[in-house]
């Protein structure tokens, strides 16, 4: 009994020692504590003072990571109620939305965080591109690209799960776009859907991909991604540049900033999820496709290009974009201005010019194809002319021209690549906005116009 009493008296000390095996009392110094802390393994001990400035990274990596954690936690909670069978997927989603306590909040949180993650991952990609931070980090750049594709995959597979009218037709039309990939497209579609059409097999595959396979892969790649950032010398900066010489300890300077950012983000997310409910349409109806059938917003640009030319929009344009992004750190190896926005001081002006050119050419192309009867003229030409003359090919050609001209004039590969990216960015955002405005029969309506069946 006396031993028990003695043990009880030293319980706090024993608990502290027991929970930290192998730590001797004399090791309990700041250095040792930092070495043991999980969060310090994500960070170096010191960071360059310059990278603390908000404009250096815009905090996009931290935001994306936070969104991933939010999605994982809310997703696990949603899994408690969700049933992945065609008969019960929709009704169980209705139950989550209407009957489960905090269910509507969780669903909205998961949905908006998912959409936000696609956006922030994309912005993160742009930030790394335009600051030239990929220099000498080919592996991590490739991992990052993979993470971006995984984010798209997760968002897309999650889109089907509510199994409502919106989800059913959006996934049907998106998976049909796989057909435009030559040779392997049809095979990929069959693998993804487990058949020719969206049905029971597709639902269980999407569910498996969404809750197990893709998040697992993503978690692994995120760990690798963050580890490589440390191994590659910290946040985007050239360690030899004089402005990066001064540094500060991560704790408290970086950690405090990250904590504030995460908390503000969580507050905004919770507010959005409370006041903006996640959409839930009617039960899926295979007899009545919605008109227009639209893909999720992050694939709208592809759908818009496909409406002009399937091979270019569905394969050539996205393929060139992806290949170009993959090759970027291999072909563009200028060390000057790494970590600085747009590299050399003269480059922003160059990018401004290419932005204006891209916008002007895009508007011209859309105007020509919408009002000037170009489409009907092309319809009377051989089929190949549709693939050669369409807005997607036009923007692709412009980006190549801008790339070559900028390269020759500025003698900077970075300026050339950045200019080409700006033009392609205009194309992607432009096509997305145009497709967003499309109404029934894929006719164009301004946002303030009412949709009518007959234009």
């Amino acid at each position: 009994m006396s031993t028990l009493r003695a043990n009880a008296a030293t319980l706090p000390a024993n608990l502290k020692r027991g929970m930290r095996p192998g730590v001797r009392p004399e090791d309990d110094t700041l250095t040792h504590r930092m070495r043991r802390n999980f969060f310090f393994h994500l960070h170096p001990v010191r960071v360059a003072t310059r990278t603390l400035e908000p404009k250096a990274t815009l905090g996009l990596g931290v935001i994306t990571l936070t969104l991933f954690v939010v999605l994982a936690l809310s997703g696990v909670l949603l899994m408690i109620y969700y049933i992945p069978t065609p008969g019960e997927a929709y009704t169980s989603t209705q139950d989550i939305e209407y009957a489960v306590t905090f269910g509507a909040f969780l669903r909205a949180l998961h949905r908006w965080a998912g959409h936000a993650m696609v956006l922030t991952a994309f912005l993160h990609l742009l930030r790394v591109s335009f600051t030239g931070a990929y220099f000498g980090r080919e592996l991590n750049w490739t991992i990052g690209l993979g993470l971006f594709l995984l984010t798209l995959g997760l968002a897309f597979t999650g889109y089907l799960l509510p199994w409502d009218q919106l989800a059913f037709w959006a996934v049907s039309v998106s998976s049909n776009m796989l057909d435009y990939i030559p040779w392997v497209g049809g095979f990929l579609k069959r693998i993804l859907l487990g058949g020719r059409e969206v049905g029971q097999a597709a639902l269980i595959r999407f569910y498996m991909l969404h809750v197990a396979f893709l998040p697992g892969l993503m978690l692994g790649l995120i760990v690798l991604h963050i580890w490589r950032v440390r191994k590659d010398g910290g946040l985007a900066c050239d360690p030899e540049a004089p402005e990066n010489a001064s540094s500060v300890p991560v704790r408290p300077h970086l950690l405090l900033r990250e904590a504030v950012l995460v908390l503000v983000l969580l507050t905004l997310l919770c507010l959005t999820a409370t006041f903006v409910t996640a959409p839930l349409g009617g039960a899926p109806d295979i007899h009545n496709p919605s008109n227009p059938e639209k893909t999720p917003w992050y694939f709208l640009w592809i759908q818009e290009m496909v409406s002009y030319s399937a091979p270019v929009g569905g394969f050539v344009f996205p393929g060139v974009l992806l290949a170009g992004l993959f090759l970027l750190p291999l072909l563009e190896r200028e060390q000057e201005g790494v970590g600085r926005w747009f590299g050399r001081p003269g480059n922003p002006a160059v990018l401004g010019v290419s932005l204006v050119m891209g916008l002007a050419f895009f508007v011209l192309l859309e105007w020509a194809f919408m009002h000037q009867g170009v489409v009907s003229w092309l319809a009377s030409r051989p089929p190949l002319s549709r693939d050669l003359f369409n807005p997607a090919t036009g923007m692709l050609v412009l980006s190549v021209i801008v790339f070559a001209v900028t390269g020759i004039l500025t003698r900077s590969t970075r300026a050339a690549f950045h200019a080409a990216i700006v033009v392609l960015l205009v194309a992607v955002i432009g096509f997305t906005l145009v497709a967003w405005c499309r109404g029934p029969m894929w006719a164009f309506f301004w946002p303030w116009e009412e949709w009518t069946l007959v234009r």
């Binding site: 209407y98 009218q165 001064s246 300077h253 507050t267 507010l271 349409g281 009617g282």
Partner: protein
Amino acid sequence: MSDRELEHQHRLLRISLLVAVCALLCVLVLIVIRTQQAPWRVLQERFLALNPADAEGSDALGIRQYYTCAREVDRCPTCHLGIDRSDLADESVPLPFRAHGPGLGRHLPDRVGCSACHGGSGRALDPLVAHGRPDQDARDPLMCQPHIQASCARCHVPGARAGQEYLEQGAWLYLGLGCMLCHPLHEGGRGGLDFGPDLTMIGRKDTDYLRDSLIEPTKNFPGSTMPSFRLALKKEPVATESLLIYLESLVLDRYPGCGTRERTRSLVSRPCATCHAGEEGDASGRLKHRCPYLLKKSDELRCANCHATGIPPAGRGGGYCPLLKQHREACSACHDSRG
């Protein structure tokens, strides 16, 4: 950045951290409060204020639902708290709490549910969604009289029971106007003249769309060759509604509820008579139709145009007949595919 600047920022950041934590906590509290103020909870409190006696039992509060024979969930009684209470049938009881009117017959709410007849989203607790207003895209609209008659066709032959006047008249009009010449009523079928789309699921469309399509077909389909029924229907609002109600009935599957199951069981011992309350039918032999309902109507229906016997057999042709469409399954309990 100088040391002093860093120090200043550090102080600012610590204050912002405190503010951010407080903001997040406030938002979390807000979420809990909003959940407590859901419309159905507010309604239930109003109900308890009006009927203090119900506050004693604890089962009046919370989500109440009917789990129907068709394994559907209808949460309507969560707000319609007096729907099955005879003591609240009076007109003076405010609307969401009043009991259901007379005429339910054997349609017991706890077996058939609400949405099987009324439409709407039975699972939803949000009043807008549950009542399926037309602005709620593609959700089943709430059916009021007389449109609720469309739901009768889920189990009953149009006109076989009282209270389906619109539905019955609609079915006759469908025959009389010659709709079935072009529009088949079986899935994947083609019309007699080989150009009308199949109308099996047309009831999914909302009422306004259907009305437009009837009166001015080119409004929804510019290239439509369907004649306009503007002149025929303009002065006949009841006829238009009847036809609309019949079309609305076309989407509905047979209600897989308690009635069907019982009927199927009894079909084995008492074929036909179970469905058609008349003399006992005889299912042996080629066809010995003794269904009084059909016998009575067969001349009007011009059954002989399609059926050599003069009285419709169940096995073939039945799919085209708008009066029998809903009953094919029941017929096939006696008649196999060869008739």
